[in-house]
């Protein structure tokens, strides 16, 4: 039972001080979670703290490997709208 930070992490440090288990650490490229220490905040908080402050959609995965904050959930930008805008920029 552990959460995971993936390479879309932008190194903003927001999650690190919130972790009640001190499981989050700065690694070479981005932050990582020590799976042996991570409790998913059970017993400390109602919701996992790292995933509740992380500003990057998809950067934190649950134990099943699913994004806790899926595309569109934090920015409010509908994923299809984002795809459209990116395609538009690519075309230039």
């Amino acid at each position: 039972m552990a959460l995971k930070i993936i390479d879309t992490c932008v190194n903003c440090y927001a999650c690190e001080p919130l972790c009640p288990s001190k499981a989050i650490y700065k690694a070479e490229a981005y932050f990582l979670i020590n799976p042996k220490k991570c409790t998913e905040c059970v017993g400390d908080f109602d919701v996992p703290q790292c995933a509740s402050i992380c500003p990057i959609e998809g950067a934190i995965l649950d134990a099943q490997g699913l994004a806790i904050n899926p595309p569109g959930s934090l920015t409010g930008i509908p994923p299809e709208k984002m795809a459209e805008a990116m395609a538009e920029l690519q075309a230039h």
Partner: protein, 497 residues
């Protein structure tokens, strides 16, 4: 813009006006008490003439943020306090202190150190306060300032009051949670992410509480607002009135910057920023209530140097590592230079007041006001080629005199290539930035822009090269009046008389 070359004793003032408000008494700091005025008159961000002499820098020590704004993409620096689409080099407090002292020793005009991001400084209290603590001790001649979204402000006021904090900037975009929900999708509060109106309500409460607490402690507060057409533009005059009533000393309304390539909500969803006219109309509507800041250049959070320039490349981490700084010696040198600058500024201000008195004594015109754009690289004179100007200073001439209105960038966050703005050329974009102006004063100008300006109804004028800005603007205004161009009342006339 190049830094002015400063000798140990600057040359005496050439006389004439320096760069603002000649011929009128309503300069930006005019309504302030003497005490506040004395505190901010040498601050490059607050005084239009001080920014020609003093410099500020920001250090990027605060990466975390506790809210999401629709004009921000957290992959980059804060798009409001910093610049969209840019990532600054994150510093530890120790690196930040070293960098600040290296810059202060090498650029004696640097008087202000700010922490504004890349996230929210008060969401990174340890890094932010460690930096402030050490600089208060080790470099006491540097003023400190901090910008915040306000969410963590009430908890930080006590700590802020312990350091050499000159002023705090709070970004307040609304008072109404329903408006707020359209700007802030969520906040992180008491260990939860809170979305929508409820999150906005808490943020607004914290901002207002923090503002009141700072004022009660006697700490100066400036308020920044981002003008978002259709979202909070109708609401900001009320924001201005409220924050003034609570004791904020200055309100800075900034235009939204939103481009799809920044990947922000507003950028991707096609939310437009305000036009130059809309921004100036709102600034005018707010200025009845309080001091408006009109020369903010929305500089980068890690910028180094005078306003509008960035010398950050001279002070990268590897370069400061090799610098030996004797700060005691530097501080003595800085003191001498600061005194000389103060003397020069005072003599220029005195000359300006004299010119204003002379103007007031003359025969008063009965003509409409006119906006003019000025190409200058500083020193309060017209000394830049039209094609070299990356920004123009906008002045208003009226029978009451000449006053500084704002800056307009010609390449606002644009790389300047032809692919942006639907293939609009650099020249077309420049001319669009001059919307509402009837003349442009520069040292020289080429044939092509001359023709295009004329077609756009803007008179190009290269006849006042090296003259003080206010004198030249008034001279051109009088020529226009004499030629009978100012008799008819235009629909878009700005009411200032």
């Amino acid at each position: 813009m190049e830094l002015p070359v400063l000798n140990e004793t600057p040359a005496a003032s050439a006389g004439g006006c320096s760069s603002h408000s000649c011929g009128t008494s309503d300069d930006q700091l005019g309504h302030l008490s003497d005490e506040i005025r004395a505190k901010v008159e040498n601050h490059p961000c607050y005084s239009e003439d001080a920014h020609h002499y003093f410099a500020r820098m920001h250090v990027a020590v605060a990466p975390a943020c506790n809210i999401q704004c629709h004009y921000c993409n957290r992959k980059y620096d804060c798009a409001n306090e910093s610049r969209p689409g840019v990532v600054s080099e994150l510093l530890t407090p120790d690196q930040a202190v070293k960098k600040t002292m290296a810059v202060a020793a090498n650029i004696p005009q640097m008087t202000v150190l700010g922490i504004a991001g890349p996230g929210d400084p008060l969401a990174n209290p340890e890094r932010t306060f460690e930096t402030f603590r050490r600089l208060s001790d080790e470099a006491p001649d540097i003023k400190l300032c901090v910008s915040t979204n306000g969410l963590a402000l009430p908890d930080s006021v006590e700590e802020l009051s312990k350091h050499n904090i000159d002023h705090v900037t709070i970004t307040i975009n609304c008072l109404d949670p329903e408006v707020g929900a359209k700007i802030y999708p969520w906040i992180f509060w008491e260990n939860k992410r809170i979305h929508g109106i409820e999150g906005a309500r808490i943020l607004i409460e914290q901002q207002q509480k923090g503002l009141e607490m700072l004022v009660a402690k006697g700490i100066l507060v400036k308020v920044n607002s981002v003008m978002i057409p259709g979202v909070n533009d109708q609401h900001l005059a009320e924001v201005s009135k409220t924050v003034k009533a609570k004791g904020a000393f200055l309100h800075n309304v900034m235009p939204l910057i939103a481009e799809a390539e920044h990947g922000t909500f507003y950028g991707v969803m096609g939310q437009r920023g305000p036009t130059q006219d809309e921004l100036m109309d709102l600034q005018d509507a707010c200025s009845g209530d309080m001091n408006m800041m009109r020369h903010c250049r929305q500089c980068r959070a890690d910028a180094v140097g005078l306003l509008g320039e960035d010398r950050g490349d001279e002070f990268t981490l590897d370069k400061i590592e090799d610098m030996e700084i004797d700060y005691q010696a530097a501080m003595e040198k800085r003191k001498v230079i600061h005194e000389a600058i103060a003397e020069e500024m005072h003599s220029k201000r005195a000359a300006k007041e004299e010119a204003a008195a002379k103007h007031a004594a003359g025969k008063k015109l009965n003509t409409r006001p006119v906006l003019m754009a000025i190409a200058t690289s500083g020193q309060g004179v017209i000394n830049q080629h039209f094609g070299h100007a990356k920004e123009f200073l906008i002045y208003e001439a009226s029978p009451d005199g000449v006053r500084f209105m704002s800056h307009r960038k010609t390449d606002l966050y644009c790389s300047g290539d032809d692919t942006c703005g639907d293939g609009e050329s650099v020249l077309q974009r420049t001319i669009r930035a001059l919307e509402g102006c009837e003349a442009v004063l520069c040292s020289k100008i080429g044939y092509e822009p001359w023709d295009m300006l004329e077609q756009a109804g803007i008179i190009p004028n290269g006849e006042h090269a090296m003259e003080p800005i206010e004198d030249a603007v008034m001279a051109v205004y009088k020529e226009m009046a004499a030629a009978g161009k100012l008799d008819e009342v235009k629909d878009d006339q700005r009411a200032t008389a």
